[in-house]
């Protein structure tokens, strides 16, 4: 920082936002193709394009018995049991159901800090997941959400729809505060059918970070949390920030005059780590898959890791 800026207290310029370039360029598409091939290899031998619901219905895989009641299809009567035990039991099968995948991207102002690197990364991850889903003939829908913005792309199917996904992500409105609880509530309300819901956010919401995920779980969704983090925000000591500064929240709110010292930076890093660890612990305790994604990890590597660890596709 120059002497002039130091003397006159001008706001620190954000890191190079100009380096954004085209979000979904040819190279990105090539990486998606490669990702899709690798993902197919990972899930080889599994039933494709089918996601089993928990409903018991007309599927092929035996699930349970129940008492016969008038009107039941007698073709489902378990004749073996009837002959051996004399009980009339109906065979139940798991019903094959086409479950939708909804990918919700946090587009709040906190995701746009430091040049919007986090939002860009989140969009790339969302696009990759969508591409893999579409390639697997899943129905994939997208939502861009914040305390101010809520844009939804209805579920689409087929690999050819990926460009609609790109356009949606590229053109969606941005900004506003982070309000995960309200956003998740709205996502749940919009969904006619519960499904796999991937939340991509920095979860910088002290009060509602986990509440949104929990709410989705209560609404029979299967939430997956992907926390996108900027390493410079996780460990601010790397920025070399020192001295008396006025901290302004990029999502608005009261500014705070603080003196930044190495001890302060260390305390913030520790508090941030505790916050992330608490979110991860809450997710684990409720069976919600949680992935931590720092920007220095390439998005395709993150997606592959998610596939390997499971939880996204079955």
């Amino acid at each position: 920082m120059g002497v002039f800026a130091r003397l006159f207290g001008t706001a620190a310029p954000t890191p190079a936002a100009a380096a954004e370039g085209e979000l979904f360029d040819e190279a990105f598409l090539a990486r998606l193709e490669l990702l899709q091939v690798v993902a197919r290899r990972v899930f080889r031998g599994r039933t494709r394009a089918e996601r089993k619901s928990r409903k018991v219905g007309s599927g092929l895989e035996f699930a349970d018995h129940r008492e016969y009641s008038p009107g039941d299809d007698i073709r489902n009567l378990d004749w073996n049991v009837l002959m051996r035990l004399g009980h009339t039991l109906i065979r139940l099968y798991e019903e094959d159901e086409d479950l939708p995948i909804r990918i919700a991207v946090d587009v709040s102002a906190s995701m746009q800090s430091r040049g919007g690197r986090k939002l860009r990364y989140a969009q790339q991850v969302a696009a990759a997941l969508a591409y893999v889903g579409l390639a697997n003939l899943d129905r994939v829908g997208l939502t861009c959400m914040s305390g101010k913005v809520h844009a939804t792309l209805p579920a689409v199917r087929g690999k050819g729809r990926i460009f609609r996904v790109f356009d949606f992500l590229r053109q969606a409105e941005r900004g506003g505060p982070t309000d995960l609880r309200a956003a998740c509530k709205r996502v749940a309300a919009e969904s006619a059918q519960p499904g796999l819901t991937v939340i991509i956010s920095d979860f910088y919401d002290l009060d509602g970070a986990f509440d949104g995920l929990n709410l989705l779980r209560f609404r029979k969704h299967e939430p997956i949390a992907i926390q996108v983090l900027d390493p410079l925000e996780v460990r601010p000591a790397m920025t070399g920030l020192r001295g008396d500064v006025r901290l302004v929240d990029c999502e608005g709110g009261e500014a705070a005059d603080v003196t930044i010292t190495p001890a302060t930076l260390k305390a913030y890093a520790e508090a941030h780590e505790r916050f992330c660890e608490a979110l991860a612990q809450n997710c684990r305790s409720r069976g919600i898959p949680y992935f931590r994604a720092e920007l220095d990890v390439p998005f395709d590597e993150l997606v592959l890791r998610m596939f390997r660890l499971g939880g996204l596709l079955r």
Binding site: L7, A12, G243, L247, V248, E251, Y268, A271
Partner: protein, 661 residues
């Protein structure tokens, strides 16, 4: 304080302008940088601080502002080039003469209400004053330091570096002997004359000898300003002013010691005199002396096979040692001189074989030479070189003239007109030896009561004579002491008595020789400290034939010095009491070594009374030491710049620890 650089108004203007700029910059600096963060809620939780810390932050900023103003003020003052008033006075050249004589080791007077410090000496007070004078020197003043002892030395040459001057005062201690103030003050006068503001300051206790007092008065009356600061104290002091020893000729294992002790204080004092040989006490005597009294004590028959003796004054058991004064004069050294044979001449006609035999048996401590009685005049070389002459004329008259030295006469008045120094009263026939002085050493172990004498002469005794033998109350043998020598006269001829046939006769002769030998003032191998003095090597028992140099050593571990010898005379200067050892480097006595005692042995040097009390009031230096100069090194602006740089460095160092900003 004056400003030699910028004027006060210019300095004030600069300070005001600079202070305004600094204050403005600080106000601008108060606007904080704004940093955009994505998670302010977490930052707020981490950086939440108490109100007290907020107040401290404000104060810290205030402290930083004050520091900057201090830096500015130091620089502004440096531009003004401030100078203390004392720097503006005329420069002066000061010669500090420190008396380091033995008396300066005496106790200093204590101011009222100050606890007595028994270890503080007058020299300590003088050095304290000298240091204060050096501290008061201005940057253009110069000084030199001269130490006045028996020898005069320049401790620090003329200069203005206080550290060099102070170094000259280190390790300065009193030296035995008197201070040569005449030379010291002359040296000081020569050093400062012609210089700017010449001034001489003498630091002394006033206990000086006549020459010193005269030199001080001459200095005070001279054209160069001369001030005297005296540091007197209690004059109580006991000193050994003489100490000598000699060996008995008849008993070489024993020595006789002479010690003179003087009470120089103003009150009666008791003291114990101890004599040691090789660290072992061989004699002691308790003395009580009135003020000013001097006592000569002879300690006889002391067992001492060694030849080096030390005498010490110690306080009697249970008494304080304060009245003994400086320690330099409480100890004295002596070397027992080599025993020289007594030269005895016997003037006789050769008819008294008994007397000759009695003298011949006295062994190797008597060199006996016979001289015909007619030739035994004063100009006879044998008579002139003898220490003692026996005149036994028999039937012959005494020769004329008789020598003026120790002599023993047997029947000196057989003929009228005798030149005998003791006159005759009358002649008597068959005198009876009725009375004898039994306690006299000449008559020790001798009884003459029944000796038969055919004729004799009654001698004419004078007041002060000792009547050794009397016949019915009239003196028959008389011992007379005079300035020309001691004379012993027997009023009868042994040949005309039966005395030679008695065993008492050889004892009597041996007693006579021993008496005169003891009365002979033997050489005292000791010299006083002080100026260089000639010493004949032969007198020390060192044959000087061919000796051109001697090696002189003060102690076993001291490096020897070579002193040239000319015509058997060596010029030596002793500075400390003790034993000097002289070894012939060449000549006939090459390698031979002798010892020489050195003592202070000066009542004047040990006298602690102030003898400068009658100096004019104007000559007395102010009693209080001068105040130290604010700064002896200039200019001050460099110091101010250094202060400013120091504050900048402090501010810089604290900045990174967030103490001041």
């Amino acid at each position: 304080m004056n400003l030699a650089g910028w004027s006060a108004s210019a300095v004030a203007t600069l300070f005001a302008a600079g202070a305004g700029v600094i204050t403005l910059l600080y106000l601008l600096k108060m606007r904080r940088r704004e940093i955009e963060v994505p998670f302010a809620a977490l930052w707020d939780r981490v950086t939440r601080v108490s109100d007290a810390r907020r107040i401290w932050r404000r104060l810290r900023r205030l402290l930083s502002w004050v520091i900057q103003l201090l830096i500015l003020s130091a620089i502004a003052l440096a531009l003004g080039d401030p100078r203390p008033d004392v720097w503006l006075r005329e420069p002066r050249t000061l010669a500090i003469v420190v008396d380091r004589s033995a008396s300066m080791g005496g106790p200093r007077a204590q101011a009222e209400g100050v606890a007595a410090d028994v270890d503080a000496s007058r020299l300590d007070a003088a050095l304290e004053r000298a240091r204060a004078e050096i501290a008061a020197l201005g940057p253009s003043d110069r000084a030199l330091i001269i130490a006045a002892g028996p020898e005069v030395a320049t401790l620090a040459p003329l200069g203005r570096d206080p550290s060099a001057l102070l170094r000259g005062l280190d390790d300065l201690a009193p030296t035995p002997g008197e201070a040569d103030l005449g030379r010291a003050l002359a040296l000081a006068r020569n050093a400062v004359d012609g210089q700017a503001g010449p001034q001489i300051l003498l630091l002394t206790d006033g206990a000086v000898d006549d020459a010193g007092a005269k030199a001080v008065r001459a200095c005070v009356d001279g054209p160069t300003p001369c001030a005297v600061a005296t540091f007197a104290g209690s004059p109580a002091n006991l000193a050994i002013t003489a100490f000598a020893a000699r060996r008995y000729p008849s008993d070489r294992e024993k020595v006789e010691v002479l010690a003179e002790v003087v009470n120089l204080g103003d009150a009666p004092a008791a003291v114990l005199l101890e004599v040691q040989a090789d660290g072992l006490g061989i004699g002691r005597r308790e003395l009580t002396l009135a003020p000013g009294e001097s006592k000569r004590e002879i300690l006889s028959e002391l067992d001492a096979a060694r030849s080096r003796l030390v005498a010490r004054l110690v306080a009697p058991e249970g008494a304080a040692a304060g009245h003994l004064g400086p320690s330099a004069d409480d100890v004295a050294y002596a070397v027992v001189p080599p025993l020289r044979p007594l030269e005895v001449a016997l003037a006789t006609d050769g008819t008294d074989l008994f007397l000759e035999a009695a003298l011949l048996i006295l062994g190797d401590h008597v060199n006996l030479r016979g001289v015909p009685i007619a030739e035994a005049t004063a100009d006879n070389p044998a008579i002139a070189g003898a220490d003692l002459v026996f005149y036994d004329p028999g039937a012959n008259p005494l020769p004329t003239p008789l020598p003026r030295k120790d002599a023993v006469f047997f029947d000196p008045w057989r003929f009228d007109g005798s030149p005998a120094p003791i006159a005759k009263v009358k002649e008597v026939g068959r005198p009876f030896l009725t009375e004898q002085l039994k306690d006299h050493p000449i008559l020790a172990h001798v009884t003459l009561k029944d000796v038969n004498v055919s004729r004799g002469t009654i001698l004419d005794a004078a007041p002060g004579d000792e009547l050794l033998i009397r016949s019915l109350g009239e003196p028959l043998a008389v011992l007379r002491q005079s300035s020309e020598g001691t004379t012993l006269a027997f009023g009868f001829d042994p040949r005309q008595s039966d005395l030679p046939l008695r065993t008492a006769f050889p004892v009597l002769v041996a007693n006579i020789v021993d008496y005169f030998e003891r009365a002979t003032p033997g050489f005292v191998a000791a010299i006083p400290v002080g100026a260089r003095r000639p010493i004949a090597l032969a007198e020390l028992g060192l044959p000087a034939l061919g000796v051109t140099a001697v090696e002189v050593r003060a102690g076993e571990d001291d490096a020897p010095t070579i002193a040239p010898v000319q015509d058997g005379i060596v010029r030596l200067r002793a500075t400390t009491p003790g034993i000097l050892r002289l070894r012939a480097v060449d000549g006939q006595s090459a390698g031979a070594e002798i010892a020489l005692a050195v003592n202070q042995a000066s009542a004047a040097a040990s006298d602690l009374h102030d003898r400068l009390g009658d100096l004019p009031q104007a000559a007395a230096a102010p009693a209080d030491a001068p105040s130290p100069a604010p700064l002896s090194q200039g200019p001050l602006w460099t110091l101010l710049v250094l202060v400013a740089a120091g504050i900048v460095a402090l501010e810089w160092a604290s900045y990174h620890r967030r103490w001041t900003v």
